[in-house]
Amino acid sequence: MITVNLVIMVIYHIISAFVAFVLLFSIVKTKNAQEAILYCIILIPFVLRVLHIK
């Protein structure tokens, strides 16, 4: 059970890191200022999650 949980946790962090990367990429690529601000706000919890802080 512990092993399964650990594997899921690792996969979850990889997914979080991927989403954070996609958001960063979208911030750079977007032509819309409002979207850029929105992506920045969404990015915050993903970064904290990847850093294992919250």
Binding site: M1, I2, N5, I8, M9, Y12, I27, V28, K31, A33, A36, I37, C40, I41, L43, I44, V47, L48, L51, H52, I53, K54
Partner: protein, 390 residues
Amino acid sequence: MSNKFLKNVKIIALGITIIVIFLAGKAFYEHRYFKGAVVLGPGVTEVKTLGDYFSPLKGSINDCNIYILDSGNPGGTIIVIGGTHPEEPGANLTAQLLVENAQVEKGRLIIAIWANRSASTVSRPGDAYPQFYHIPTDWGTKKFRMGDRWANPLDSWPDPEVYINYPSKQMLAYMDIRNLNRTWPGRIDGTLVERTCYAFMELIKKERVGLFIDLHEAELEYPVISTIVAHQKAQEIAAMSSMILTAMEFDRPIGMEFSPPALHGLSHREVGDHSDALSLLFEAPEPFLDRVRGITDENLLLTGKDPFVMKAGKYGLLYEKIDERGWPIEVRVGRHTSTILQVIQTYSEIYPDKAVFLSQVPRYAEVIQNGVGHYFYNPAEAPTDRVVYE
């Protein structure tokens, strides 16, 4: 929209994002890695950790300190645990007060201040919980970490769809797999909190604990409040203690309730069922936990005064009385210390061969008069080998 404007917006937004991440991350990090000092009182003869009783827990977040106060004189062994739910500060403050003050004249006393330490490393920002609270002492202010009811998801995740308690197979809410008072008697290969309970059961068996006491606080909307919940093996002790305390000491009564035989996972049921120890659980009122509360801050946590909870009481919606006096932390801790002393005295009278005699533990009236902080000592003035951190 010009490219230059767009670029500036992006740079400013990213800059603000980095600042917010830094500030939020710093606050969360400081809370999670906060170390609270515990000054070992003259009664403490040894400090072990929970991992000493179950090695897979060694070095984990829940490898909490186990304080042993051994009189050297033959007698019984009693364990008191605080911090099962770290959002109930009266419990861990009482446990720490015992560590810093109690002296044992006969038998042994074992104490855990933070039974579920992982749960003390997470709070509920969405419910406006403060991260820390501060207790005034004779030498300054002592800072304590405010926690939650459940272990930190950073330490135990994911939760199941439905939590099935082991070995009873009773179905419970999913998040209660992280609730130390739903996972007894624990599981050797379970999740963090199940293993923590398993380690405590190993401790109880290896140290031949005769009486187990689990300290709690409860919202006034909850029917199990101001009471001693007793396993059937401990009903005499609980009944006698509640009568004596209500008649002789407390201005607001303390009751006694039986541990429901079919309600599994709770310490008062499983410790009694799965070991030789008699198990009891104490509940003191904590208005901070009530859902109808108003401003949720450190003041409410420590004074227990809230006009909304009082109003709910006027409409008969509560199971405990509340007035303008509130339920200050001194009253809650004082009720716990007196209940512990009374229960131990009654236990020692009923089982003289397992008697435990304590001294230097303040009773209800003394804690109210002097304040909780009076019983905490300055770690800066204590010998370094008599200070440990949780």
